[in-house]
Symmetry: C2
Subunit: 389 residues, 2 copies
Amino acid sequence: MPEPAPRIAVIGGGQLARMMAQPAIALGVPLRLLAEAEGVSAAQVIPDQVVGDYRDLPTLREVTDGCAVVTFDHEHVPTEHLHALAEAGVAVRPGPEALVHAQDKGVMREAMARLGAPQPRWALVSSAEEVEAFGLPCVLKVTRGGYDGRGVWVVRTAADATDALAAARRTGVRLLAEELVPFTRELSALVVRSPSGQAAAYPVVQTTQRDGICHEVVAPAPDLDPVLAGQAQALALRVAGELGVTGVLAVELFETVVEGSPVILVNELAMRPHNTGHWSQDGAVTSQFENHLRAVLDLPLGSPAPRTPWTVMVNILGAELADVPRLYDGYPHALARDPRLRVHLYGKDLRPGRKVGHVNAYGDDLDDCLERARHAAQWFTGELGDSSE
Amino acid sequence: MPEPAPRIAVIGGGQLARMMAQPAIALGVPLRLLAEAEGVSAAQVIPDQVVGDYRDLPTLREVTDGCAVVTFDHEHVPTEHLHALAEAGVAVRPGPEALVHAQDKGVMREAMARLGAPQPRWALVSSAEEVEAFGLPCVLKVTRGGYDGRGVWVVRTAADATDALAAARRTGVRLLAEELVPFTRELSALVVRSPSGQAAAYPVVQTTQRDGICHEVVAPAPDLDPVLAGQAQALALRVAGELGVTGVLAVELFETVVEGSPVILVNELAMRPHNTGHWSQDGAVTSQFENHLRAVLDLPLGSPAPRTPWTVMVNILGAELADVPRLYDGYPHALARDPRLRVHLYGKDLRPGRKVGHVNAYGDDLDDCLERARHAAQWFTGELGDSSE
């Protein structure tokens, strides 16, 4: 008697794992979670769980025991552990050879160069002299361990590079210099690929950052040149195929103008459900979370087509406030004002700069969607006043 | 420091509780489950759980301890226990005074008569003579404890009533006789009502039964006279208000013809998310499961408007087969054939006559939706051949 369905191990108890739980319920696929601590976001909603350290191989072996597949809420599992799991017969999806491109920005830049993908001018640097030789101003990034704006420095003088160089030396990672791209906006091309090579491309979206954290997404990207949109999707599909990605691949892009024409340049890669795909939960036929699960199980992928002309996602980001409201107390106004609003909370308390949820607003009119989503997100954080009233 | 959000106790570990878990994740609202046994449908997906008997008051007290609200996967909790919980300060939603109308078909018939709701001719009976006096043919129903076609008999001769009379005597419940309505079809009017009286009405749907079990739902009901649809919604809203329902109320209706005009007659009431509302998970702005949670929390309700012209729901019902397939093995074909198909499995094995899941197909063309949903449901059960290949 076979198991009713293959079990998927998910490493990391953040909101991405939490949001995988919803389609797992629908698909009848059991998840087993490795959570960093008791009661974290995904641990609140996935019964089969182990609490432990994702850097510890015996813990990873315990969690994946009896699982057909292992996938990830984040990209921080050591590469050598992933190889060890794969050797023990667990399907690691995405696999370590692919995932390293999302873990190490230096490896990613080298791969993009090899593939001929358009990207900013870049170099690996290890001294103030090398930074100056690269050319100022520039952006410095630690090649491993940075996220949500951490581990990134905009450098205008050689002295500005001190912090970045010290951080790289302290953590023993390489430092990447990139030209400061005068981008007109940021885009994201999100695709999902299965081990057998089937791949689905979501519409290219426009993303807006706030302090290095994804803040707002508009799907599809307004007024995007259809040729450029096609290039972005084709690029993401090619990267996914060439790197052997399984599951979601998000290719974050700069849109900029070269000799009067719009072009795209690869900014970052992510290999997991991504903030720029949260709109798909309510705006697409199949959400990125469901398609991620289908991909890592090598099941046929669902349609990534939009269900509606526009979907706007705005993150609920904790603000600096004297009186931090309780998120739940934002419901009476937010839901009554907009009966079509879709709210996704992560089971986290509000803290400044912390992503605690997001809202999706969809419809025929972009301005209306923007107004509804922005109002709701600000209301929940207390930025529009005391939401507890 | 208040709790992040009020906790909801859910009594019963079936698929309705399982499907409440998805919007609870999105809303950031914690659920605590009372499951009949380890590993039942909802117990697979709700971490905070107690295994025990819903007929045992101490167990009910343990489950609801620390919960703001208690609601239900089924209607079988004894009325006196609900009163005891309410007296202990737990908000019981729906409350015992309302729920009794879904628990006891005799009480329901008396209430519908009091409200002047259109219904079949009926009488409470306790002997073969009373059944004959009522008039044959007729339908006999135990007033308590029947569901999915169990506890219902179509009686054409007085001798046919023997089983029904014996069942009623054995279980100590009253027996209800109803005229055999020559209905043209069955409809369902589903509304959601909050304690403060806000109420949302979903479009009236057409339902088809197979062996007394809901099998197929078309939303909205095709070619339904708009006046009759309005009457059905108004009736369901009035019943919800007059009986003080909180959460979902499904009013199952017969459509029949009287003196050349279509009319509706109340068949059954259910006070919980209902099989005739499963289409709303993919076809409406807000699903019945999310609106049920919002209602029992007295939060503003979400829009019940359809997102698409047609949604068809078909249940996956175990068939009588020599080789019972594994549901999961139906995925490769079902998902590849229809990338827009929405599948909902309940974590149950296939058994003849057992509801183990449902599929939703939505779109602009009704015939296309019907074909897609019926094909997929039959494929999963193995009725179209061996789905394990």
